[in-house]
Amino acid sequence: MYDAVVGPFVQYGFMQRALLGSVVLSVSCAPVGVFLMLRRMSLTGDAMSHAILPGAALGFLLFGLDILPMTIGGLVVGLVVALGSGLVSRFTVQKEDASMAAFYLISLAVGVLLVSWRGSSVDLMHVLFGSVLALNDEAIGLIVSIAAVTFLAVGFCWRGLVAECLDPLFLRSVSRIGGPVHFLFLVLVVLNLVGGFQALGTLLSVGLMMLPAVAARFWSNDVRTLCLIAIAIAVVSSLGGLLLSYHASMPSGPHHHARRGRLHPVRIFWSKRRACERAPVAPP
């Protein structure tokens, strides 16, 4: 048991890095995912994860497989798409999801074009699916700083985030902070996706965000608890995914997701049962 669970992390440096990276990413991504879900923007994360592809690809084309330019590229393009679609929805009749769909599809098309123009399919696979077992110091540093920024931003803006989700019109009547909080939140989404893409790839980094959040929703009826449960689920399934991929020598990015997905039906069943056991309280 010790050999199977703890051994790999003690013996191998790359496993320690992967562990550190996954755990920090989990702690950072899960709360962002919870708010995405609560704002009915679950698929926005998905759209954004596609949208950052051309930025990453451009960085890759110009500077090779180097984390910094790819990250900055992804960040810039992701922010352009997020802010662009936000602005279009604010100032035109277009709904935010529609304008985001348009922006991200264009972005994805450009991204695939760029990658296939001057790269082999191996490179494409790397950009799309990442490699958590090959995290270097730079990547770890990036992930840790993004987590720190996310933690601070969510902490400081907590009240605004909750108010903006719960009763946006009320918030607009007492404060002008709603718009800035919304944009800051989109920035956090992009940051976390970019942080995740070294480890999990552009397409799959959104999984670490959404799956734990969606799973946690079955368990709790309070935002704070939801965030904590989502973090716990994310950490545990990242750990499980790493170990499984180590032992089965399979790609670890997709594995994380397969694990989380497999647990999903079980969770639905359990929480249904819990809901039945907890008899609804009759309002007085």
Binding site: L38, V162, F170, S173, S175, L226
Partner: protein
């Protein structure tokens, strides 16, 4: 003039350049309970948003002579499935005092408990929002409005999907607020309720039909005119200037309520 709380001057409000409330003029006195009455789509909620500063005027002004505003949007604007507790919703009422980062003190918590007490939700702090009935939710929202300690209170259809007992309790609260010198504007559909409890009424049909004491405003003649305005407007879809120049009778009727308001002030 110190007893004037709100002063509309030729106020036109709307969305994306299309007007929904046209050329509204008049004043609201301090400490008076005013009902805002009109058909669906007559611009009641738009007017509320305009006063709350959520919507910028297309033209004209809304001069505000009050300290603090509390706005209670329609319940449908709220995400009732959001996983939060009653205390999270109600404590939003501290926003004007505490802002984004200010700590909610023990004294604040006591105040919150007292407000929950006043709306009949004693001990509901920890209850999840999705377990509340429509009436309990509205009571919680009234508690939040009380916490805001505002001089002008805007209530947008507060009695939608609320049972009779709750309406009675909430009406008592609204009357207390007015007695404390707060100005209350309340969007309502139930004319019987308005006649019984509201001293002043503003009848709107995309433009002001009448504004004054309830008995003078809610006449069958005014209600008929409101209906006619509303239908006439649907045909010309928005541009008030044409309407005003085309139909002199409308312009004449427009002056009438102004005189009535003036007489009342």
């Amino acid at each position: 003039m110190s007893d004037i709380c709100l002063e509309f001057k030729n106020l036109t409000l709307g969305y994306q350049g299309r007007a929904a409330v046209h050329h509204l003029s008049g004043t609201a006195e301090r400490g008076v309970l005013t009902a805002i009455v009109g058909a669906n789509g007559s611009g009641k909620s738009t007017l509320m948003k305009g006063i709350a500063g959520i919507l910028m005027p297309i033209s004209g002004t809304c001069e505000q002579h009050f300290g603090r505003l509390a706005y209670l949007p329609q319940q449908s604007e709220l995400d009732r499935t959001f996983p939060a507790r009653v205390v999270d919703l109600v404590s939003l009422g501290f926003w004007q005092d505490r802002g984004l980062l200010g700590r909610i003190t023990r004294r604040d918590r006591a105040k919150l408990a007292a407000c929950l007490d006043a709306v009949g939700l004693t001990g509901f702090e920890k209850r999840p929002l999705d377990s509340l009935s429509g009436g309990q939710m509205q009571r919680a929202l009234f508690a939040r409005t009380m916490l805001q300690n505002a001089d002008l209170i805007l209530l947008d259809e507060p009695f939608n999907a609320v049972d009779e007992r709750t309406v009675g309790d909430l009406l008592c609260l609204i009357k207390e607020w007015a007695a404390e010198g707060r100005t209350v504007l309340c969007v309502l559909h139930d004319h019987a309720l308005v006649r019984e409890h509201f001293r002043q009424t503003l009848l709107i049909a995309r433009k002001l039909v009448a504004w004054g004491s309830t008995s003078e405003v809610l006449t069958s003649e005014n209600l008929r005119r409101a209906r006619n305005f509303h239908e006439a407007w649907d045909e010309t879809a928005g541009w008030c200037e044409d309407e005003r120049s085309n139909s002199s009778s409308v312009a004449r009727q427009d002056d009438e309520p102004k005189q009535r308001v003036a007489a009342h002030v």
